[in-house]
Symmetry: C2
Subunit: 266 residues, 2 copies
């Protein structure tokens, strides 16, 4: 349980919306603008990880607001590292989750903003500033705009729709084999989904999201959205995935349990 | 060359826009409506191919308009077969290309409308009725709304962004191996793209789209959009892909040639 009262959380949720507004303002002009993209390779892993001026500008705008209004809060993000690491409350942010979608002009990326109370993310926002869609999870539930979100019942793998950003996010060997075992069991699979898949899971149109190689800022904002909509988000062993790594998210707890068995080879 | 004058093509393009308007009106209320989905398995291939009331209703609306205003034209679509097959001009339609995206709530599907003059598709529309984005290719060029589209220069595979709907669309064996050879050579890959990838190719944000197992209505509308934006769309041997099957689309002719060599194992 968070030590924060619901009222305090509501005020912080309002502030999270303000952060998303500011981020969207920075990002919007860059989308499909034909800007030059700066490439960087992930250290040690060799994957393609484009970073755009939009990403960097939006993270700066978010950090500036946090420092102005909550100078005692910590900030953890991809572009500018961890500030104020001893703070009780930490904002965990990724202005553009889905940079590959962004640079190819596809609208399935999002801005991720979470607040972590030292134990877990207690509120989260996933904003799509081009489509003007904002998913949120916090003290009053999970929402898309003002529409309350609820996951759908789906207990059987054979009936499930599964999303995953890309099959190559799984390390060759047991991890990829576990994913392949699971993906063969479901009725529908969809790649190329990034954070958007978690929004659709919370909304009741997707049943499973399975990922790996995640950073904390890739997942923390999505946890309260899925959980407050009735879903379950853990690592592949049922523990917390807030620090990243492997993620298994399900709309139905029974399906989560079934999927975990298959991933574990039980 | 088409026997139709540019003026005749312009009038038919206006009619194609009207068809897309009518289709969008039918489809829009069904998106994220939680409607029950009718499943059907593709005959003989066992792939998942959901068909929604939206798809069927939109195709009926399109066919009704064509019959009312151009009763001498032929119509070819997935849901209701081939009508008036001896006609000189045939509309080739797919109201929802990307049914998996549609039923999982993702906005990357589209309505495809082509006009074929007996030799080739002479105009095409790809409409995204939720995002209100409409791509078109015809006598006056390629457009997104009123913005003229142009593919970007990208001659080297090592610099290319490649899209594909899903790796499992390639048959196990030589076809899948050819795709895997190509995908290893590019700088960025993105799955889950359906018709939207061709729009982004025409718009200059994607360099290659590689697919297989396509139907005529999956590709015909997209050919004029890509070609009029400066791109090249063929099968994997450089011939026409208007009848479906394997597709290789590139924004840059030099890249198309390089990619074809890799697919052919030369």
């Amino acid at each position: 349980m968070s030590a924060l009262t619901d009222q305090a959380l509501r005020e912080l949720m309002s502030f999270a919306h303000r952060l998303a507004d500011a981020s969207g303002e920075v990002i919007r002009p860059y989308f499909r603008s034909g800007l030059e993209v700066t490439d960087k390779k992930d250290k040690g892993e060799g994957r393609y990880s484009p970073v755009t001026a939009a990403d960097q500008g939006a993270e700066a705008a978010i950090r500036k607001l946090i420092k102005a209004f909550h100078p005692d809060h910590g900030i953890l993000g991809e572009e500018h590292g961890h500030e104020n690491p001893g703070a009780r409350l930490t904002w965990v942010i990724d202005p553009i989750d889905g940079t590959k979608a962004f640079i190819t002009g596809l609208p399935t990326w999002g801005t991720l903003i979470a607040l972590n109370d030292g134990g877990r993310p207690v509120l989260g926002v996933m904003d799509q500033p081009i489509l003007r869609e904002r998913f949120s999870g916090g003290p009053d539930g999970a929402f898309l705009g003002t529409t309350r979100l609820k996951t759908r019942a789906c207990a059987r793998l054979a009936d499930a729709a599964l999303c995953c950003t890309e099959p190559d996010m799984f390390a060759a060997g047991p991890e990829r084999e576990a994913f392949d075992r699971l993906v063969r069991r479901v009725s529908l699979r969809r790649f190329g989904t990034d954070c958007y898949a978690y929004g659709m899971l919370a909304h009741g149109f997707v049943d499973l999201v399975v990922e790996a190689s995640m950073a904390p800022w890739d997942i923390q904002a999505l946890i309260p959205i899925v959980e407050r909509a009735g879903g379950v988000v853990t690592d592949w062993d049922g523990g917390s995935c807030a620090e990243g790594g492997r993620v298994l998210a399900a709309g139905d707890a029974a399906l989560h349990s079934e999927a975990m068995k298959v991933l574990q080879g039980r």
